[in-house]
Chain length 462, copies 2
Amino acid sequence: MQRTLVKDAHNSTEPRDSILLQGWVRTRRDSKTFSFVELNDGSCLKGMQIIVQNTLPDYEALMHKAGTGASISVGGKLVASQGAGQKWEVQADTFEIIGEADASYPLQKKGHTLEFLREIAHLRPRSNLFGAVFRVRSRLAYAIHQFFQERGYFYVHTPIITASDCEGAGEMFRVSTLDTDKPPRAEDGSVDFASDFFARQSFLTVSGQLEAETFACALSNVYTFGPTFRAENSNTSRHAAEFWMIEPESAFLDLFGNMDLAESFVKYLVADVREHCAADLEFFGKFVDKELNARLDFVLQRPFQRCSYTEAIEILEKSGRKWEHPVKWGDNMQSEHERFLAEEHFKCPVTVYDYPKTLKPFYMRVNDDGKTVRAMDVLVPGIGEIIGGSQREERLDVLRENMAAHGLAEKDYWWYLDLRKYGTVPHSGFGMGFERMLMFVTGVANIRDVIPFARTPGSADF
Amino acid sequence: MQRTLVKDAHNSTEPRDSILLQGWVRTRRDSKTFSFVELNDGSCLKGMQIIVQNTLPDYEALMHKAGTGASISVGGKLVASQGAGQKWEVQADTFEIIGEADASYPLQKKGHTLEFLREIAHLRPRSNLFGAVFRVRSRLAYAIHQFFQERGYFYVHTPIITASDCEGAGEMFRVSTLDTDKPPRAEDGSVDFASDFFARQSFLTVSGQLEAETFACALSNVYTFGPTFRAENSNTSRHAAEFWMIEPESAFLDLFGNMDLAESFVKYLVADVREHCAADLEFFGKFVDKELNARLDFVLQRPFQRCSYTEAIEILEKSGRKWEHPVKWGDNMQSEHERFLAEEHFKCPVTVYDYPKTLKPFYMRVNDDGKTVRAMDVLVPGIGEIIGGSQREERLDVLRENMAAHGLAEKDYWWYLDLRKYGTVPHSGFGMGFERMLMFVTGVANIRDVIPFARTPGSADF
């Protein structure tokens, strides 16, 4: 007999004489003549209540083994439930133990700390919280593909291993097959990277943007969605060494078109997860972040405000606030400023644009004032920056000046310059940190808790 | 005015008084009173024919600049085409050069070798062949997500950086932030990996399977789709150091269920690409591989045959063939054997299962004969193996024996063993190399030509 997933059983429109469920015991309550067993198979938050009568052969022995964490296979009838809180329950005709859970099973009792659950990252998806997080993670990833594919964007796998550094800065991981203990040496005694696997120094990518630009200049509209890496030694709740990033790049699109795309994108993702992960989001709203749903509504319902960096600085200066980090024109905004703009001043998501040239990388398009560039950051309540992007410099001569000013050698970017030499076009793009968006839609506060197996300084378990 | 993509213009159901197209000049033919300009924007294979009358202001100067590779913006009318081969063409009212192409533009002439085009991987997506390849790549990736999401599978991002080695073998890339020239040393003089970023030796993953198993044992049905790495020094047309892999893992599924899933998967992908990339596939059938469409039909129309490894060896032995690599029970099959089975003996895709234990990794389920394991390979005509998978060993004691026999330390796999200790379940999965599947559906023969920027020994350009 074919297995039915618990999610599909809950969605049944009529009783069924015969159904097969397979999953893990979450809880069991025994009464005199029967037991309630909650079977969860991870297909949805809610388990299925199984009623096992004590008339079943081997009842005592079976129930003894059917502790929390045991895997079971249950045949029976799907019937309307008398109890509150569920439409259907299953009356067991057969009840098989597939695998017992050893008495040391760490998820037997509730109320473990998130820190402890990180240490058992291989088991935590069996908990309500992490089951919900990783179902939403899967759906959000799919919604990202849907959004772009429906709009004619092509998915590009930009390389993970790279010899170039998109930002001209960035702390990178080295990728190598050289013997660490005794690396080969050149005649002058330096390490001979010419004998490394790729015949040069190579690293893990920090962004696929430059490569995505080459594809946008051929296929018009493209996006990347892949892992990116930072070898920053920062142990915060918002940083991981390995995370996933989405980077659309659009030819013939200016900064304002880019803002429109970013706004549609954020709204689409929030609406999609709302629709497809309703039960999981309800759980987060109850147990993780009571303001979650109000915050998501906030994003869905209002058009994003737009304000130039110069205006934003004026607003901050005139606010009368005491800032932990005082801010003036030319400074980077800190989280406190970004959150003030979104949460208190505009009271909605806000896109800040035209940042000082000195704060931004070489590839952003220079404005006519010569002082600012066509950069944009989308700030949302509760999180701050969720998207950063720009219109790219498409003028070959200006790009060359910018590179020189940033101390970059043209020979390292010959192919990037070629895009401006052969049929250059105005084009724009942005990057969204996937985990940051996931934290935004779930309310989960630590990035370690939205990644299956997080990589952070000192930690690469599993 | 809003830009229309060429793809959407071709699909128009009626003429339009006003349309804006933006893209790159592919070809231009001049007659006495007008020019034909073919505009391609990468949204589809076929460009749009633009008719520019010589009465347009600055006609001569514009046409002088509108050489192959130049970017243009054209406003005009979409009208029924008189010419053969297209339904619509555009009569230009305005014609703007956005960016000229320098005279050195390497794609001006046709007939470049694939080798040369690899050297200009940043420009080759502007050619017919590579535009088609990367559109199909994008669609195939999306179809993979659709297939699994429609079936209730959750997408899991297994880690890229790992301290463990799935196969117990595999040549891996080291990931490190240690100073290559002067690494820190422990007291005994060895490299002190405790001071590396992750406080241990770490590598790029060769498979996400073991981590995916932990999620299947919580969410039931999961899949991965991400980059994987091999530091093998093999310069063949089928190997790359960085490639993408799909790995579904299903709880409560045995080897035969796994075969069913693999068969549906391959057929779904072929049918999807057929439907959504018809023009690109027609191009491949004409210019890349004349037998492509027959081969794809072959896969779609017939049920896959199944045959045990033992039967397969008998077939090969009785075939009367002279093999380059003679084969007997206990040997790995070579490409010539796999292709003989699929192309000549069964004349359809074939799933070979129950391989000798000695040929396979520690995690495969041992059969009652003690000699074979529940492994399977799906072989397709023209390619050979396209999928490899197995039912996993769910019995704790047998798994421990297998690990000991493979010389693996239990302490390195404590979390993997935990899955068998706490509610173990029969489960199965497989891996498909994304690029191999892409080569199968496009007929492109070299893996370097289906990856945006390929990473191979000695090569990590762009």
